[in-house]
């Protein structure tokens, strides 16, 4: 698997979340999914895009713990490096 950088993942996650509805400038690392009105259905879609792009499989139990955009980015980067 090609190495992915945090910046690359962050860019892709923010771009994906923006396509789900929230304004791009609201999507910061500290923003919570609740604040962004991103629900569990959106997170499953995000996981599918991540899997398709980086080959990283995010399981349901992993996703449940995610509170902020930063949590998601760190989880994806961590899994990609593992």
């Amino acid at each position: 698997m090609p190495a992915v950088t945090t910046e690359q993942v962050q860019e892709r996650v923010i771009e994906t979340l923006a396509s789900f509805g929230p304004e791009a400038d609201q999507i910061t690392r500290d923003a919570t999914f609740e604040q962004l009105d991103i629900d569990s259905l959106d997170l499953v879609e995000l996981a599918q895009i991540v899997e398709d792009e980086y080959g990283v499989v995010l399981k349901g139990e992993d996703m449940k713990e995610l509170k902020t955009v930063g949590d998601a980015i760190d989880l994806i980067v961590g899994k990609a490096e593992a």
């Binding site: 789900f20 509805g21 259905l41 879609e45 398709d52």
Partner: protein, 402 residues
């Protein structure tokens, strides 16, 4: 005494444009919204009516519904605040098929990328109750909300169900409607395979040259309120849903029962429900699909129910001549066109009708629009018919404001 039900808001998105009055005005002035063998809602831009999130989570059929519901609720004066306890407001939105485009897109995803990549939004987007759920959620309607499915009668069944909900006392008001967005290659292939579609791409109901229906898309929504409650809040009343009748052919999967007997039963039930006679009917908005079988059977049904002589006196026109067949939306959109006819007192013509068929021998309003004349000087009354694959027959009796 039965509670009476009135209509205080109308909304439509059709191949003739966005808006209930637009539909009637353009049809009455002879505009046809059909192009290249389909009635597409070219003037509907999702971004004009929906947030990014709404558009992304709704199939086109539910998107069209939300746009039509917004017009209807605004027209009823419901946009700032609901005038009733939300638990006493129902929502019945019909569709024939549901999220057809979503099903096809997600099947492609599954075949190309495997089942793990199928969207979690697939089911909530294609379920036939998605439009009812969207309206209920957007406006906080907390009474009974559900979808109704009876192919091309769906929209009329939705209005009848909502009317009964209010009459029975389960609700004081309801949003009713129908929606369809099935202009996909697969749906065209399926209808073509059964030879239901016009090979010439022309919708000319009751004309001897008719050769099938033209598929269209769109949505219609109506706000229904209990009459006394509407009056006491000072609502503008467009029309009354005065009668509802529904029967089934129990005859054939797709062909109508040729004598028109069960269909005439629906008309008779609706007249009795409204407490009126054929002499009171000033206009019939026909199902008029432009298929050889439907238009002949509907003509037979009208003659049976209204009497041969009376049926020949009443102007009959088909909205499908202007927008094609909107399937599950047809009953709702055509009820709206009928109400606009009652409100404006202008009967739109059956566009393209030129060559008479001996099996279709009523007055189909050829050529151009004409004035609607109430037969006894009172508020005019009209029928709106809907018939469907599966043999479902529905007639609504609509009474204009005096």
């Amino acid at each position: 005494m039965k509670r009476r039900v009135v209509i205080t808001g109308l909304g439509a998105v059709t191949p003739l444009g966005v808006g209930a009055s637009t539909l009637h005005e353009r049809w009455a002035s002879g505009v046809c919204g059909i192009a290249d063998g389909a009635g597409k809602c070219d003037q509907f831009e999702p971004g004009d009516h929906l947030s990014v999130k709404e558009a992304r989570r709704l199939d086109r059929f539910a998107q069209l519904t939300l746009a039509s519901a917004a017009e209807a609720l605004t027209g009823a004066g419901w946009d700032d605040e609901l005038p009733y306890d939300p638990m006493r407001i129902g929502c019945v939105i019909a569709t024939g098929i549901g999220g057809q485009a979503t099903i096809e897109a997600q099947l492609d995803v599954m075949r190309e990328k495997g089942p793990r990549m199928v969207s979690p939004l697939g089911i909530p987007m294609y379920m036939p109750n998605a439009a009812a759920a969207a309206v209920s959620m957007k406006y906080g309607l907390r009474g009974q909300a559900y979808g109704v499915v009876s192919a091309c009668s769906s929209g009329a069944h939705a209005i009848g169900s909502a009317m009964r909900m209010i009459q029975y006392g389960d609700a004081d008001a309801a949003v009713a409607g129908g929606s369809e967005a099935a202009l996909t290659p697969f749906a065209f292939a399926c209808f073509e395979s059964m030879q239901a579609l016009s090979p010439t791409g022309v919708s000319r109901p009751f004309d001897a040259r008719r050769d099938g229906f033209v598929m269209g898309e769109g949505a219609g929504a109506l706000v229904l309120e209990e009459a006394e409650a509407a009056k006491s809040r000072g609502a503008t009343v467009f029309a009354e849903v005065a009668g509802y009748g529904s029967t089934s052919d129990a005859y054939h999967l797709t062909a109508p029962e040729p004598s028109g007997g069960p269909a005439s039963g629906a008309i008779e039930l609706a007249l009795a429900d409204a407490g009126i006679t054929p002499d009171d009917v000033a206009y019939v908005n026909a199902h008029g699909t432009s298929t050889p079988l439907n238009d002949a059977a509907e003509t037979a049904a009208l003659k049976r129910a209204l009497g041969d002589a009376r049926a020949r006196q009443i102007p009959v026109s088909s909205t499908k001549s202007a927008i094609g067949h909107l399937l599950g939306a047809a009953g709702a959109v055509e009820a709206i066109a009928t109400i606009e006819t009652l409100r404006t007192r202008v009967i739109p013509p059956t566009l393209g009708y030129e060559v008479p068929d001996p099996d279709c021998d009523l007055d189909y309003v050829p050529g151009e629009a004409r004035p609607l004349l109430a037969s006894n000087g009172a508020a005019p009354v009209a029928l709106s018919n809907s018939f469907a694959f599966g043999g479902h027959n529905v007639t609504l009796v609509l009474r204009g404001a005096a």
